[in-house]
Subunit: 201 residues, 2 copies
DNA sequence: TCTTTGTACGAACGATCGTGCTGACAATAG
DNA sequence: CTATTGTCAGCACGATCGTTCGTACAAAGA
């Protein structure tokens, strides 16, 4: 009582490509027709995987999240909690951006800027991902504080805000001006800021 | 030998509205038909002001630049060179973002993220504006250094990178999470960073 | 094997995109 | 006042958008 099941592998290929395109042209710039042509399948066949453009956009965010976890979160979790894990987390982020895992730089930076001023389910999903990320950074920082590797009065949310600011600034500067030096400026800023937090300035 | 000249005031109204829309939906999301309907004029009439969508986008960037100069640059130039001018510059930027001079937050943040990974004249114009801005911040910082209000070895480009990072992070965080506290975090970060640069840490 | 069930395709829908053409109106030059 | 020149509206164009429909094909259950 069943036809051929939907090819889960093909679905992943579609979404990975969708994430690549979206990192450059946005989730709105992503069009079903173009995506289908790129992948050599029919527009309606591809459409059937998702049922609506919004659902495609949400699914794209989900696979981008899993790429992000693999590329940024997991490498940091490979080192024990503490300030060294914080450094590793920043470094994997910079590497993820610099290696152009997504051709348009950080996927989430692109789609956040695109949807931060519009209502809807896509915006909500992007906001939730952003919140998860900043909470993870803050928690990683607070772990280091509790281990005594950062000053007792370190404000984890504040420090997370500043570190994330450096990361995103490096991403956008390097993209816009083709200036790889931006990553070095971010590394310098992060090193200095973490040293200050360690000393308890 | 001349018909009625093009209404320069109307042109400005069009472009100011175009900048508002673009700050929320991007310069691509800005459509001529929607813009014309919003303003109660005909699509082709509005089109005649610019001749192409790309020209409309470039003109929009120009008026957004002049708004930016009025709202951010000029207030800073009202105070004499030195670290106080640097503080004022950051503060007018935060105020410009927080007051939603453009409804989608900083216009340039939105369009930079949109075009940073695509070629073309629009991207070039956005990149040029971004370069002008960061050079202006760096120069303002270096003035303060030469006046002895910042440590001699202060790297103006590095410090400008960090301050701009805080500003943009506040903008996007407040938009995405409706969190006005982001501006306070940016103010805290800026104050601390400038104090460190003054002491010569 | 035959029937059922769901996939993937091609074609077409209405809407909207940027853009060009045509003609009516208004302002200036002579 | 007439002639000229440019603005602006209305309409239509081809293209592309997201979406729907009908059909041919492939797999699994009977």
């Amino acid at each position: 009582m069943a036809g051929r099941p939907r090819d889960e592998r093909a679905r992943n290929v579609i979404l990975r490509r969708a994430a690549d395109i979206s990192s450059q042209d946005g989730l709105d710039g992503l069009s079903i027709g173009r995506l289908a042509t790129d992948l050599g399948v029919s527009k309606s066949g591809l459409f059937g995987y998702f049922g609506s453009k919004e659902e495609l956009q949400l699914a794209t965010i989900r696979v981008a999240t899993s790429v992000y976890v693999d590329e940024v979160i997991q490498p940091a979790l490979a080192v024990p909690p503490g300030v060294e894990r914080v450094r590793r987390l920043c470094e994997s982020w910079l590497s993820y951006s610099q290696r152009r895992v997504f051709p348009g730089g950080c996927f989430f930076f692109a789609v956040t800027a695109e949807f931060d001023a519009r209502p809807g389910r896509v915006r909500d999903a992007v906001a939730a991902a952003g919140l998860d990320w900043s909470r993870f950074v803050a928690r990683t920082i607070d772990d280091a504080r509790q281990l005594g590797e950062l000053a007792d009065d370190t404000d984890a949310d504040q420090l997370a805000f500043e570190l994330i600011a450096f990361l995103e600034a490096a991403n956008v500067t390097s993209l816009l001006h083709d200036d790889a030096g931006a990553y070095e400026r971010a590394r310098t800023a992060i090193r200095r800021r973490l040293d200050a937090a360690a000393a308890g300035s």
